[in-house]
């Protein structure tokens, strides 16, 4: 597969390590009242869609960027690639 890195351009996916569903960005607040329940959900349940899947790829053999990739799991076609740090900020993550 080819991942079109937002900074570096098209790169072979073999340079990357797959890190799973990008829902992992939405790490629950560990101080929430129902933190345990939320962490079970966060840690163990997945949408696992047959279709567009938003997922994390780590450019381990490249520039070490985490990317958020939208890829169709039935065709492997990739429709969007973003820097994970940008996406994380967009989802309200900061410090």
């Amino acid at each position: 597969m080819i991942i079109n890195h937002p900074i570096l351009g098209p790169r072979d996916s073999a340079e990357f390590t797959y890190m799973g569903d990008a829902a992992l960005l939405d790490r629950p607040d560990w101080q929430a009242k129902d933190a345990l329940l939320q962490f079970v959900d966060y840690g163990y349940l997945r949408d696992n869609p047959a279709g567009p899947h938003i997922e994390l790829w780590y450019h381990e053999q490249g520039d070490r960027s985490f990317l958020v990739v939208t890829r169709d799991t039935t065709t492997h076609q990739i429709s969007s690639v973003k820097l994970a740090s940008d996406v994380a900020r967009g989802r309200g993550r900061s410090k």
Binding site: M1, I2, P10, D12, T17, M19, L24, L25, R27, F39, Y42, G43, L56, Y58, E60, R64, S65, F66, T75, H76, Q77, I78, L83, A84, S85, D86, A88, R89, R93, S94, K95
Partner: protein, 793 residues
């Protein structure tokens, strides 16, 4: 002259005579021959035995779709089972052996199976061999296993090297027949980065197999001239002997280049084969078409082959399988073979055409409305039986028979992404699916454009469409005028009433087996394939599948497209495991990581242990020590009583800097680091998100905003990955910078009561190693050396 079946003309170099051996017997061929053409030239028709019934087998095709003429090529460690004689280039000194036989090829004791074929029908083994239960592994299975399989291996290590590589292009053209060459000219002259790959050693495809001319030159000459021009273009890479074996995601193709297979031994330092990973923006499949046989009783004897292959042998290799040849056809193309062979001086026994309105010939007999219903000849064809339109049967002596049942486009790569082929009624064949691999277009015969003129035009046209998509200025190439005869064809799959009519010649699947499969409810094409093994041989059913589908359609009262087809998977042709592995074998299987003291440790005779690719000195045996415990006990005691050193460079080391470095470490470790004093080290435990321990190590604070973290050797990579995840995905606004320094710093642990004493010897006196100055978990930096003191090793 021994090559009694050699004709005039052809594209072989008669000035170069090559000696070779088949089953121990010496023969001669010429440069440009394949093993198959050279054997045919020497009147060798019997080349193998079938899988199940051990029926005599001769060559069926002239290409990589060959199911029958498969052999053990070469000797010793280079013995190569199941090699197609039809694609093996002849070289001086080549040796080949027939396979899957007991005794000699002519007298194969296993041919007894053929007598029992009535018992050995499709799937018979699922119904028996169950009693007594213990007999399966002990008795039945060993017999079956010994009988099964085709070629054998040498059990010696493959002595040749393999390599891998990466190529990029705007346009990958797969196949260098008329459509591929026209496309390459179009795109190449337009300046696009083009790769043109063909599995054959001579490019040109069918142009090399036909007699017609392109205006004033032969097809082969035009192909050679075109290839020469393409080779001269710096933006075109012409790759002969290169099979595109699979279409992978996003325009990536696997390609196998056979660098040295046409040589007795690879040149020193050169690989036998290279597996290229080709990154293409667009690709164009110009893989041509494969002719279909027609099933009739005993249609599997040596000498019975595809009519188009006969034409290739005659026109390209100047060879005929026999001097008296018959043709069985349902289309006009079969007549071309008769005409070409006749022109080459081969006598034509008759052309048997199932069509009442078959074109007639003044040169030889054409039996219109006839059918070949049986054949004779123990180890090779001697005659055929033909049913005439008037109901009578006539015997026709002949040494070879060409079958032409129409052509199937070579659409294999288009279904590598599981796209389902689409039926084309006009040519009665499956054509490329609409949902083939993104970026892959198809041209020429692979698209069902069977005439040369159509193929040339479609290649150029598709190339221009691709150039347009790529934003490259299109280019009008003037193509030579070429034959444009329509391929009149009446679909005809098998002769009615036959039972032992072979569909899959390698696996011995007959019309009868398809009928049984249907009777037992194995009707889905996938069930048919799996139950009968139709199309599961080394040829993957390139010549056999269609017949089975057509018969199943008839049995179920459905149309062929309703029955459907199994789809093709990579590789296009079987590919050496060694090639996929490339140079990653033996001690080069994976990189080795060595510590700074590795050479010293080797000199001390260390025994190494493998940890995370590192070689770590485990213990240092001394003279007289025979068991590892003796060495280890001695070393432990020495450390306990005095001092020991250990190269712990293999531990992961990560530099953590930034205003929020301490906050960051607080988040990823169980332990707190915010309050760690500068100059101190603290043990840290890292957990996974599910609360289970992930790694442990120490973090040393070099400055308010600077830590060095150590990890275990095995987890160095995954801990760094986890920290990057935390930094980029969880807390993207923390001011933290991470960089691995595992490689940049050597690291030694010094332990034991005399550790301080030892340090004093290597450190300049101004460095205070007293307990007050250098206490537990203390840390000092001195020149380019950092010292930490910890109770954790």
């Amino acid at each position: 002259m021994s090559q009694i079946n050699r004709l005039g003309g052809g594209q072989i170099d008669r000035t170069k005579t090559l000696d070779f051996k088949f089953d121990g017997k010496s023969y001669q061929g010429h440069d440009g021959d394949t093993l198959a053409s050279a054997l045919l030239a020497n009147n060798v028709r019997l080349m193998g035995r079938s899988f199940k019934y051990h029926r005599p087998r001769g060559v069926l095709t002239a290409g990589s779709e060959e199911p029958n003429a498969i052999m053990e090529l070469r000797d010793g460690a280079r013995q190569e089972p199941n090699t197609r004689a039809t694609t093996a280039e002849l070289f001086g000194g080549l040796t080949a052996k027939s396979q899957n036989k007991m005794g000699s090829l002519r007298f194969d004791f296993m041919a007894i199976n053929d007598r029992f074929s009535n018992f050995l029908t499709a799937g018979f083994y699922y119904k028996t061999f169950m009693w007594p239960a213990a007999f399966w592994e002990k008795v039945y299975e060993p017999i079956i296993r010994k009988a099964a399989g085709l070629g054998s291996i040498s059990f010696e290590d493959d002595p040749d090297d393999y390599d891998r590589g990466f190529l990029h292009c705007d346009l990958l053209i797969i196949g260098a027949g008329p459509s591929g060459l026209a496309a390459a000219l179009t795109a190449g002259r337009a300046g696009a980065q083009v790769i043109l790959a063909d599995e054959d050693y001579t490019m040109g495809g069918r142009l090399n197999s036909e007699r017609f001319s392109l205006v004033d030159q032969s097809g082969a000459d035009w192909a050679a001239k075109t290839v020469a021009e393409l080779t001269s273009l710096p933006n075109v890479r012409v790759m002969a002997r290169t099979t595109i074996l699979g279409a992978f995601d996003h325009g990536i193709y696997g390609a196998l280049e056979r660098v040295s297979d046409h040589l007795a031994v690879p040149e020193v330092g050169k690989p036998r084969q290279i597996l290229w990973r080709i990154y293409s923006k667009r690709s164009l499949l110009c893989a041509g078409a494969t002719e279909r046989p027609i099933a009739f009783e005993n249609n599997d004897r040596p000498g019975i082959m595809l009519a188009g292959a006969m034409r290739s042998y005659a026109n390209r290799w100047a060879v005929t399988a026999a001097h008296n040849v018959a043709i069985f056809t349902n289309n006009d193309d079969g007549h071309k073979t008769a005409a070409d062979l006749h022109a080459a001086g081969v006598s034509i026994a008759a052309v048997v055409d199932i069509r009442q309105d078959a074109p007639l010939s003044e040169e030889y007999e054409v039996i219109a409305g006839g059918q070949v219903v049986n054949s004779n000849g123990r180890l090779g064809l001697t005659s055929i039986e033909v049913s005439l339109p008037d109901g009578n049967t006539r015997a026709l002596p002949c040494g070879a028979l060409g079958m032409s049942g129409g052509w199937n486009p070579n659409i294999h790569l288009t279904s590598h992404h599981r796209g389902h082929p689409v039926w084309n009624e006009k040519i009665a064949a499956f054509c490329p699916p609409d949902n083939g691999p993104a970026g892959l277009s198809v041209a020429g015969a692979a698209l069902g454009n069977f005439t040369t003129a159509e193929a040339l035009a479609s290649g150029a046209c598709q190339a221009n469409a691709i150039l347009k998509d790529l934003g490259i200025k299109q280019n009008k190439v003037v193509l030579p005028l070429a034959e444009d005869a329509p391929a009149n064809m009446t679909p005809f799959w098998y002769v009615k009433g036959c039972s032992r009519a072979w569909l899959d010649q390698q696996n011995d699947v007959t019309v009868k087996d398809v009928k049984l499969s249907h009777q037992e409810n194995f009707i889905s094409v996938e069930h048919l394939k799996r139950y009968t093994t139709l199309g599961m041989g080394t040829d993957q059913g390139k010549t056999s599948n269609m017949g089975g589908l057509a018969i199943m359609a008839e049995l179920t009262g459905k149309t062929i497209p309703e029955v459907g087809t199994t789809i093709f998977r990579p590789p296009y042709t079987p590919t050496a495991i060694g090639a996929f592995a490339g140079r990653d074998r033996g001690t080069d299987f994976r990189p080795t990581r060595k510590t700074p003291s590795h050479t010293w440790a080797e000199e001390q005779g260390a025994v190494f242990v493998e940890v995370g690719m590192w070689l770590r000195a485990q213990w240092f045996p001394q003279a007289g020590e025979t068991h590892w415990r003796q060495s280890v006990d001695r070393e432990v005691l020495a450390t306990r009583n005095s001092v020991g050193i250990c190269d712990v460079t293999t531990l992961g080391k990560i530099d953590v800097q930034g205003a929020d470095a301490a906050t960051f470490l607080n988040k990823i470790y169980c332990n707190g680091f915010a309050k760690l004093l500068v100059g101190k080290t603290r043990y840290g435990l890292m957990l996974r998100e599910d609360g289970i321990a992930m790694d442990d190590g120490t973090a040393a604070r070099l400055a308010e905003d600077h830590f060095v973290v150590t990890t275990t050797t095995a987890n160095a990579v995954s801990v760094f990955r986890h920290m990057e995840f935390a930094r980029q995905c969880l807390w993207p606004d923390l001011d933290v910078q991470l960089i691995s320094t595992t490689e940049a710093w050597a690291q030694y642990a010094v332990a034991g009561p005399n550790a301080r004493k030892l340090l004093k010897k290597v450190v300049d006196p101004e460095f205070d190693l007293s307990n007050d100055a250098f206490s537990i978990y203390g840390l000092r930096q001195y020149h380019c050396v950092r010292w930490t003191k910890s109770a954790f090793v």
